[in-house]
């Protein structure tokens, strides 16, 4: 079965989804990603969906789950590169994913993760 590669980039994990999302592939990704976050002590996850041309409610839910799970493991998830047609369709479908962080591309997502890390570390230092 196809698997989605998870790459380590410094303190972050980069997941680039390039296959047509199969339900089982999505479930495997959830399992592997949570394990890697723990084993690599990752601080953030970049989920690159720029090659994905359809996000239905199942895949949308999976993206939401990944974000919530990684948050519990103290890693922020940023969804990057969503296509305009996919964004318009998701909103019409009723799935605006309000709790998920987004960025235009991997670079912007990385900047967002770094900034989030800085504010949270500052927060800890001041306590």
């Amino acid at each position: 079965m196809e698997r989605i590669p998870i790459l380590k980039m410094g303190p972050y994990l980069l997941v680039t989804i390039q296959v047509d999302m199969h339900d089982r592939v999505a479930m495997t990704l959830q399992d592997e990603l949570t394990e890697r976050i723990v084993s690599e002590r990752a601080q953030g996850v970049l989920l690159d969906i720029s090659s994905v041309d359809v996000v239905d409610s199942f895949i949308g839910r999976m993206i939401g789950n990944i974000a919530s799970m990684s948050k519990v493991l103290d890693a922020e998830t940023v969804v990057v590169g969503m296509r305009p047609a996919v964004a318009i369709t998701l909103v019409e479908l009723g799935l605006a994913l309000p709790s998920i962080k987004t960025a235009l591309n991997v670079d912007a997502g990385m900047t967002l993760l770094k900034a989030a890390r800085k504010t949270s570390t500052n927060g800890r230092a001041s306590r």
Binding site: V54, V86, T89
Partner: protein
């Protein structure tokens, strides 16, 4: 109403959901739908194909490219022989779910298409028909 293309595929496994998506996309491109309209009908088809596989215990999708003289459109009909839906009105509500999903399958796909028809009786299966015009 002229039918320019007519295809039928079975919906039994998760792989068939992906096949259904690809087929609908091809048909939408063939008719020259805009990228946003393509994405909308493909997403709706994905929802309904998954419903047929997961809740309907399998079924089939009939896909047609239509031309009614003044406009062209993609029509997809999903038929399953599952348990059916007792209260369609309730099932069409946002957030209503039987399996712990988001409950956007039916109501959400209705918002993505121009025409949406559903017929279902307990024990007799479910038929959902959608059309997206160019």
């Amino acid at each position: 109403m002229a039918v320019l293309r007519d295809e039928l595929i079975g919906l039994r496994s998760m792989d068939d959901i992906i096949k259904a998506r690809q087929l609908v996309r091809e048909c939408a491109i063939f008719l020259g739908l805009s990228l946003v309209d393509q994405t909308k009908i493909v997403t709706a088809a994905s929802e309904l194909a998954r419903n047929a596989v997961v809740h309907g215990g399998g079924g089939e999708m009939r896909l047609q490219a239509l031309n009614d003289g003044s406009r062209r459109g993609v029509k997809a009909v999903f038929v399953d022989n599952g348990p059916g839906i007792a209260d369609i009105e309730l099932a069409m509500k946002d957030g209503y779910t039987t399996r712990g999903g988001l409950g956007l399958g039916l109501s959400g796909s209705k918002r993505l298409v121009n025409e949406f028809d559903i017929e279902s009786k307990p024990g007799k299966g479910t038929t959902v028909s959608i059309v997206r015009w160019k």
